[in-house]
């Protein structure tokens, strides 16, 4: 599904990624683990097109998407979330959910002469989404009035709601309380059953253990070991890189 070939990226002399190569299989959950500053989020940004790599290629379903604009990559079916939640602080939940679909909102002329704002049938589907994700808020509530946990849930809901083939989650459970954490885990488990292709970044070893089909351990962008979760998590090099013995 997704192939990373020889990606290198340095910021002002500091080599964040020293050439990483790995493959993400379809219908599998792959977890990227590694200490802080291992280049995980930078890799995410490179795949999603927000950052240009110095060298290397990103192939998506065989097509080279390295130099494509972020919105083109997003429309190709790569749906991502951000480490710090990025939502639109003056808009409502309803706005966010309707924005996710390509409902012709980009066409200026059509929008001037469109009759109703949100069709009835859309209203139900969004309310259903809120139920599935356990966000007990109405569609009209503003983002500012949501708790941190609810924002995390909404961000994942939007990523899912968006027509996608690959889901990229950047530390989905970081900073949320236990209740929300278990909710998110159940969600991810449900996705696992539906054979969603997910690329996941997280520090929570148990979560990775329970969820991931395949784990890639990174240090400064280089893959130090790859394989099934229990193998990788016991590998001495990984422990050393993680715990810094």
């Amino acid at each position: 599904m997704l192939e990373i070939q020889g990606i290198k990226k340095s910021f002002g002399g500091v080599e964040a990624i020293k050439g990483s190569n790995f493959i993400i299989e379809k219908n599998k959950i792959t977890a990227l683990i590694g200490p802080n500053g291992a280049g995980k989020t930078t890799l995410f940004d490179i795949i999603a097109g927000f950052t240009r790599p110095d060298e290397g290629r990103v192939l998506y379903e065989g097509e080279d998407i390295t130099d494509k604009e972020p919105h083109i990559i997003a429309n190709l079916g790569i749906s991502r979330t951000f480490q710090q939640v990025r939502l639109f602080k003056n808009l409502t939940i309803g706005d966010h959910l309707s924005m996710v679909e390509n409902n012709g909102d980009m066409n200026l002329i059509k929008n001037i002469f469109r009759k109703k704002k949100v069709k009835r049938v859309k209203q139900e589907t969004y309310e259903q989404v809120l139920e599935d994700f356990g966000i007990k808020q109405t569609l009209e509530t503003h983002i500012n009035d949501l708790s941190f946990g609810q924002r995390k849930l909404l961000q994942i809901a939007m990523a899912l709601q968006k027509p996608h083939k690959l889901l990229m989650l950047d530390e989905p459970v970081a900073g949320v309380n236990k209740v929300i954490q278990t909710e998110i885990e159940n969600l991810l488990l449900k996705l696992k059953e539906k054979n969603e292709t997910i690329l996941l970044i997280d520090h929570d070893i148990e979560l990775v253990h329970r969820l991931a089909d395949h784990v890639i351990a990174l240090d400064a962008g280089i893959v130090i070991c790859e394989g099934a979760p229990n193998e990788v998590l016991k590998n001495p090099k990984v422990l050393e890189a993680y715990l810094g013995e």
Binding site: A48, P70, A74, R86, F88, N90, D95, V100, D105
Partner: protein, 290 residues
């Protein structure tokens, strides 16, 4: 009687209301801090004046002034696409001055400082507009029409996208929205209506010269938008009434008239600073200028 003078002030208010509402599309809804909006006003005025001078029918000149202004809007949006915050503000301010310098120096087209006198009154679909009263009706109808269009744009799905670009451009991109496309379109819409306002102004005053489209006017439009409140059309209209009418009272108090000019500007400055300090969201605003 007094109403003739009130009509004159009302026409100026209507024109500045269109300017403020159109600026709000770029600043309030899309977060593009454009300090060069006055340039579009000037381009529209000059385009309409020059065209009608070469006996192009008025209705055509009116549309052409909007289109010319939005072409420059496209140009400004393209060259400042990568800039943010106060760098964008200052690049647009620079753009405003460059347009002013061209208006002043391209004497073959704009007659430079001599300005363009004797711009005739509009004649639209056979309705020859002469007096100030009928001009007020004409300007108000156009203003109503513009406000309606902008109202529909900003309250549609498309409008929500503009606001998404304002709140978090990167987040909008991640949802697959082409934010450059949106920014350019927003600037073009804003410039188009500013051009129309320019044409309305030129045909009302019947004489324009570069000095009318310079720094002091940038501040007035900005004061209106900020006092009215960002992302609030109602705010811009009502603030236009307050900000334009207020200093006119100065004319009736008998302070020496050499003091009126500077006093008027000082009032704008004081209102602007007080609003920024104590009510940055303005009267009806609901969002903060980040």
């Amino acid at each position: 009687m007094l109403s003739a003078y009130l009509i004159h002030i009302a026409i100026i208010i209507v024109i500045y209301a269109i300017l403020a509402v159109s600026l709000n599309v770029a600043v309030g809804y899309t977060g593009l801090l454009n300090l060069g909006h006055i340039a579009f006003f000037g381009i529209g005025a000059y385009a309409s004046a020059i065209l009608t001078k070469n006996d192009v029918p008025y209705t055509l000149a009116l549309c052409a002034s909007g289109i010319m202004a939005s072409l420059f809007g496209w140009l400004l949006a393209k060259i400042t696409a990568k800039l943010k915050g106060d760098y964008l503000a200052l690049a647009t301010l620079g753009f405003g001055f460059v347009v002013y310098a061209v208006m002043l120096n391209w004497t073959k087209l704009t007659r430079g400082p001599l300005g363009i006198p004797g711009i005739q009154k509009p004649n639209i679909f056979g309705w020859q507009i002469t007096g100030a009263g009928s001009y007020l009706i004409f300007a108000s109808v156009i203003a109503l029409f513009i406000v309606l269009i902008i109202y529909r744009i900003v309250h549609s799905r498309y409008g929500k996208l503009l606001e998404a670009v304002r709140d978090d451009a990167i987040g909008a991109q991640a949802l697959g929205k082409n934010i450059y496309h949106l920014k350019v379109q927003s600037m073009m819409i804003s410039a188009f209506f500013a051009g129309i306002a320019g044409s309305l102004y030129a045909h009302y005053i019947s004489y324009i010269d570069p000095s009318t489209f310079f720094l002091s006017d940038i501040i007035i439009i900005f004061t209106i938008v900020i006092v009215g409140g960002l992302a609030s059309l109602r705010g811009s209209i009502i603030a236009a009434i307050i900000i334009i009418a207020l200093p006119e009272l100065l004319r009736f108090i008998d302070i020496p008239s050499s003091m009126i000019g500077p006093m008027r500007q000082m009032i704008y400055a004081v209102i602007l600073i007080l609003i920024l300090m104590f009510r940055p969201r303005g009267i009806f605003g609901r969002i903060d200028l980040d």
